[in-house]
């Protein structure tokens, strides 16, 4: 109900841009991708464009300086460094890719299956993953080298298995989250096979994170592989970046430049992979495509004359009983939210609202009508990006819209209280009910601990909690939703406010509980003579509680008046359509007649 952006009409389809296209707009990602493209090309064709055979030794070339024929000089065994670098790229990259493919196969397939089916399979594979993660990779690789010989392919395949938990855990967590989504249930009911559900509904969710993780792991694989070769544990017969690094390190005093080329290759490639992964993650976190900024000059509120007039019904006998003093006077209120990329969207477009002392005023409307935003603006609790653009809010003679946080703090909780829609999310789960009631009493009313405690217990009893002492010591998760709402109402009235703003106070509750909470609100209101502004979409709640009603539609109040007048003589077309949509008055459907039964 607090959503203000729900578009009732079909919005123009936003072209879904692929992750790759979005990356191309990020300069760092473009540079990194370009470098990786060069590495990829060299990896494929490097062996053939190498000017000299990389394994050919020549005595003249031993630690030779760069020359025209050998631009990067020669290494300690007299081989051409450029040719070795070009051919080494292929083997180093292929080794890293092998590790990645093995990790993907083991991790992604395992994660999908374990996550989707759950049960024993899940438990066993999670244990195995934990064990693999606990193994020190380098030690395992050294042992494998000792047992199986110095093959880069064997060691990279084993390393792939060691990397697989990274994928397993990522996929597993995502699949567990998606598995219980209703659309997966719907697909099962629609008769799709498990393989199809995994392929279409689940793999799509984990695809992007897998790509990002792959880039990071590829960098790690290159680094670890180079590390092994550098230690001299690799296959000396094939040129690799790590092997070249090893050779250069041995000659570091004679020809320090020999270390530079493989270091650059390893460092830049790993860096580029991480940068691409980071940029991709940043793009994905910007979950929705960036909305295109509209040209329309924002935030010029309509003048009063332009606005369609609110239909105001005259007071009747019931409405006149209430105190004629206007406690809360809202004039011309415009609330707007900043849009990403400049401009703002008006959600409340010029609202006039009077709440008199001791009256119950209902603000009714459908989702997106701006009723909750109006209430939040009065409370000074608009969420980030929201602001009062125009108009005034006057509470007992004080301007609230111009008040800073400091003066709001003197009003909120003491003179204006708030009852929220979701009772559970408005109680802090880590504190007892008692401490959450006592705290404001001590701060606001300056009561001692003992006084506050006895007052809180009296309040809990007043709001109809059967065992106040037990509830006082309980944590929020130990009580039901209806009880939680009673606690919040107790908290709201604890400091004797003049106005209570209740935002859909019974929407989250069952009907039988709703009836009790409505009774409680009514009794407390009569007892204390407070004014109540109740935001709701339910005409039953309005009929039960309110003296006066304002009907909101797309940011404006279209009709306002005493409750009887609104129900008996609605004038605005929208009010009529709302009242017409109520089902209570309609006839029940007749039982199915046997002769009308359809034979199929």
């Amino acid at each position: 109900m607090t959503e203000y952006a729900a578009a009732p009409v079909v919005a123009p389809t936003l072209a879904r841009q692929s992750l790759f296209r979005r990356l191309l707009r990020n300069p760092v990602a473009v540079a990194a991708l370009a470098f990786l493209a060069v590495v990829a090309v060299v990896a494929v064709v490097g062996r053939w464009i190498a000017p000299v055979d990389p394994t050919l030794s020549s005595l003249q070339l031993v630690v030779a300086d760069p020359s025209a024929a050998h631009p990067l000089g020669g290494d300690s065994a007299g081989r051409d460094v450029l040719s070795r670098l070009l051919s080494a790229t292929q083997i180093s990259i292929a080794g890293a890719l092998l590790a990645l493919v093995v990790a993907l196969l083991v991790g992604v397939v395992g994660g999908l299956i374990a996550g989707y089916y759950g049960g024993l399979l899940d438990t066993v594979s999670s244990w195995l993953t934990a064990i693999v993660m606990a193994l020190p990779a380098i030690v395992v690789l050294l042992a494998a080298r000792a047992a199986l010989g110095p093959s880069i392919w064997v060691s990279m395949a084993i390393f792939g298995v060691l990397l697989s938990p990274a994928f397993f855990r990522l996929v597993h967590v995502s699949v567990r989250a998606v598995r219980d989504e209703l659309y997966v249930d719907a697909a099962r009911v629609a008769g799709l096979s498990d393989a199809r559900i995994i392929g279409r509904h689940i793999l799509g969710v984990v695809r992007a994170p897998i790509i990002i993780q792959s880039a990071v792991l590829l960098g790690i694989a290159i680094a670890v592989q180079s590390g092994l070769e550098f230690l001299g544990l690799g296959d000396q017969a094939v040129p690799t970046w790590g092997g070249m690094l090893n050779d250069g390190f041995a000659q570091i005093y004679r020809a320090p430049v020999l270390m530079l080329w493989p270091s650059l290759a390893i460092g830049l490639t790993s860096m580029a992979l991480v940068l691409v992964a980071n940029a991709a993650r940043d793009e994905l976190e910007r979950s929705a495509p960036r909305p295109r900024a509209r040209r329309r000059p924002a935030a010029v509120s309509d003048t009063r004359a332009d606005r369609p007039a609110t239909i105001v019904h005259p007071d009747d006998s019931r409405a006149l009983v209430t105190d004629p003093d206007v406690l809360l006077r809202v004039r011309d209120l415009v609330v707007a939210y900043d849009r990403e990329g400049g401009g703002s969207t008006q959600v409340v477009k010029g609202v006039d609202l009077d709440v008199r002392s001791g009256e119950v005023h209902g603000l009714i409307g459908e989702s997106g009508s701006g009723k909750t935003q109006t209430a939040f603006a009065i409370l000074g609790l608009l969420s980030s990006g929201g602001h009062i653009e125009a108009g005034s809010i006057e509470f007992a003679g004080d301007r609230l819209d111009e008040a800073g946080e400091g003066s709001y703090a003197r009003v909120r909780g003491r003179r204006i209280a708030y009852v929220p829609q979701e009772p559970m999310s408005n109680l802090d789960p880590s504190f007892t009910i008692g401490s959450q009631l006592v705290e404001p009493l001590r701060v606001v009313l300056g009561l001692s601990r003992g006084e506050a405690r006895s007052r809180a217990l009296a309040l809990l009893e007043r709001v109809g909690i059967p065992d106040p002492a037990h509830a006082f010591a309980a944590y929020p998760h130990e009580i039901s939703g209806g009880m939680a709402q009673r606690v919040l109402i107790a908290g709201a009235v604890s400091c004797d406010p003049e106005l209570v703003i209740a935002d859909e106070p019974t929407t989250a509750l069952d009907v039988t509980v709703q009836a009790e909470v409505l009774d409680l609100l009514r009794d407390l209101q009569r007892e204390r003579g407070m004014a109540v502004l109740i935001v709701t979409h339910n005409f039953g709640v309005v009929a039960d509680l309110c003296d006066r009603v304002s009907v909101m539609q797309s940011g404006r109040i279209v009709e306002s008046g005493p409750v009887d007048a609104i129900f008996d003589h609605p004038e605005h077309e929208y009010t009529c359509s709302l009242l017409g949509a109520i089902l209570e008055d309609g006839d029940a459907r007749k039982p199915l007649e046997s002769h009308k039964e359809i034979t199929r």
Partner: protein, 287 residues
């Protein structure tokens, strides 16, 4: 009149967290039948087991004992493969139109998915999708869009179209209108009725709202704490309930009219006081 769906003495338990914890019994022996072309309304408050009953019919809840027979054939405890074969007969519309449609798929592929899973050719499926969109009152170009382009009411229409794609004989509707605004709710309910009158599909219509159930249901069953406490014709159960719990439920729903609600409030107080007297021990225990 033979029943399309017969549920007998159904018990569903969910395991509780914790070592050797006693399982939670969501359904404690529920019996119910639905005839072809009939809407059976199922009312209850949160935790009453009404959603579990729907999920059990769909094969999404663990049945401990009892039977669910569809068209005379036992369907509880079917294998996944047998269950898939049943998908053309029993379909579902869920409550939340936001999470029941895959956000990354186009409406066209969401609707054609159940068709292509049964081997309908792509061009036939496309034609059927256009037909379905038309049936639920959506423009045909909706097939190329994604769920986020649609409002709650429109999304629910898409979910209805998906349920109808295979021409089922029973649709389980789990609170299909409770996330919708009042005016949208009325239109979607009328769509449900219109489709039923045209195709003869039966509904198991789950809702917490008596007035919604009253509007669409031929018969109504009331659930309370995992049991069905009252079953009968819609008008009887929703206007002149017999069971004390149904009476409380009926009285608790506020009438959308100030003066009549005042009367209802007094009646409700009287009813609750009456039910508290010792003679009504059963209902007092239920309180």
């Amino acid at each position: 009149m033979t029943a399309l769906l017969t549920i007998e003495d159904l018990v569903v338990s969910y395991p509780k967290k914790g070592f050797r914890a006693a399982p939670f019994r969501a359904l404690k022996g529920v019996s119910l039948d639905i005839r072809p072309g009939e809407t059976m309304g199922l009312v209850g408050e949160s935790g009453s087991g009404k959603t579990t009953l729907g999920r059990a019919v769909l094969g999404l809840a663990p049945v401990e004992s009892g039977s669910i027979r569809f068209d005379g054939r036992e369907i509880s405890g079917l294998s996944r493969r047998e269950r898939r074969a049943l998908s053309s007969d029993i379909q579902v519309v869920f409550q939340d139109p936001y999470s029941s449609l895959n956000p990354s798929m186009t409406i066209g592929s969401i609707l054609s998915e159940p068709l292509s899973a049964r081997g309908v050719s792509e061009s036939d499926a496309r034609g059927r999708v256009a037909e379905l969109l038309d049936d639920v009152g959506l423009p045909s170009d909706a097939a190329q869009r994604r769920a986020r382009d649609f409002s709650g009411g429109q999304r629910q229409r898409i979910a209805i179209a998906r349920a109808l794609a295979l021409e089922p004989r029973l649709v389980v509707c789990d609170e299909p209108v409770s996330a919708l605004d009042l005016t949208t709710q009325a239109r979607v309910l009328d769509l449900f009725i219109e489709i039923q009158e045209r195709t003869g599909v039966a509904y198991l219509f789950i809702s917490h709202d008596l007035s919604v159930v009253r509007h669409v249901s031929h018969r109504v069953a009331v659930m309370y704490h995992g049991e069905i406490v009252e079953v009968g014709n819609g008008d009887q159960v929703t206007a002149r309930p017999v069971h004390p719990y149904t009476q409380r439920l009926f009285m608790a729903a506020p009438v959308p009219h100030p003066r009549r609600q005042e009367v209802r409030r007094v009646e409700r107080r009287r009813l609750i006081d009456a039910q508290r007297t010792p003679s009504e021990t059963t209902s007092a225990a239920a309180l």
